[in-house]
Amino acid sequence: MRRNFSLLTLLFTLCFVGVTFAKSGDENKKDTPDEVKSFIKHHLKDAHYFELFHGAKMPLPIIVWDNGLKYFWSSDLKKVKVKEIMNADSTITFEKLAANDTVPKSAQDYLYEAQNSEYSLFHGKMLAGKHADLQLKLNSEGKKKLISHSPLLDFSITKSVLMTIIICFFIFLAFTALSKSYRKGPIPSGFGRLLEPLVLFIRDEIAIPNIGKAHYKKYMSYLLTVFFFIWIVNLAGMTPLGINITGNIAITFSLALITYLITTFTANKNYWGHIFWMPGVPVPMKFVLMPIELLGTIIKPFSLMIRLYANITAGHVVLMSLIGLVFFAANLFSFGAFFGLTLFLGVIELLVAFLQAYIFTMLTALYFGAAVEEHHHEH
């Protein structure tokens, strides 16, 4: 125990020593903390292109709804640097930044303009206009807000969308192969041998204990889908593809929404009875409990959404920060320490990838179980 502790202390000391070395030593500004920070921010966001490594960009289609579907490739977008001009009516407009302009960084901005159409991408939002058309205003909190345009409906096939489609296709192939292999005999062949124990695990450890033998069958398809989708997507997030799908709140929102809808529409009388007219408590208390229970039905899927999103985002941030630290290593010793720490956290993240899929499925099954529970006992 004592030995373990001192080893851990040594490891942490090494890390801190490494950081200090890196901060004092590096002068050439290639790998600065700012660069790493923007790299992490960039990674967490969705993108309109697929970049495997620096320089190899694959453009993806951009599809917007602007009185009809308009589409073009993201290779058509070109970065335009602009400077902010403060007007008399306290609005801000943009002007193109000339090469010899000396404007402070805080008064600069940038956007991506399409070359062959009237669209531009301004901080992740598709707008029907170029830089000269945009007008911003400072709000009460001192933040710049766009007032001239409202963002268009964006149906683009972004990096996350593309990878989601590919992963869904992969899951579809793997599971149709598994179900087909049962025609030949009771023992699956090939990749199905890996999947079968997991399917049985979901059935025997999650679905039956939480939902009950009578009702679990109709929920199995959703539980399996959600488990394998989250798990495989999380694992794909650990590969160097640089994707972050479950760290996107829209994806987790959709998953939680489906859970909520299934719970609501398959719930029996008993479930609604416990929400609107809680049995076994005095009548005034029933009125107090009604809004609380009703709010609880929303909070449950909401916490599902936040939990998955926050876990995956936090995991990616920590991992990327540690990978970033490797580049600041001043000597081979600290390099080894950072590398070891990154490897260690990578393994932990593999566990988290499974654990989050398990917890999401488990809690979903728990909510389904509450929705179909029969009335056993008088309270």
Partner: protein, 63 residues
Amino acid sequence: MEIPAIVGAGLIVIGAGMGIGKIGGSAMDAIARQPEATSKIQTAMIIAAALIEGIGFAALFAV
């Protein structure tokens, strides 16, 4: 004097950490006492820990 929101978030995270620690400790005790119920205890432990973790994350994102 105004207390920054981040202090509140820190307090909540401390609370969440203590809660998860207590759950883990109690589960260990329970497993040591009844090793045959390990899987049931683990399930209940993970659910409770996940619920507390949700609160911790809500606090972090509210900042």
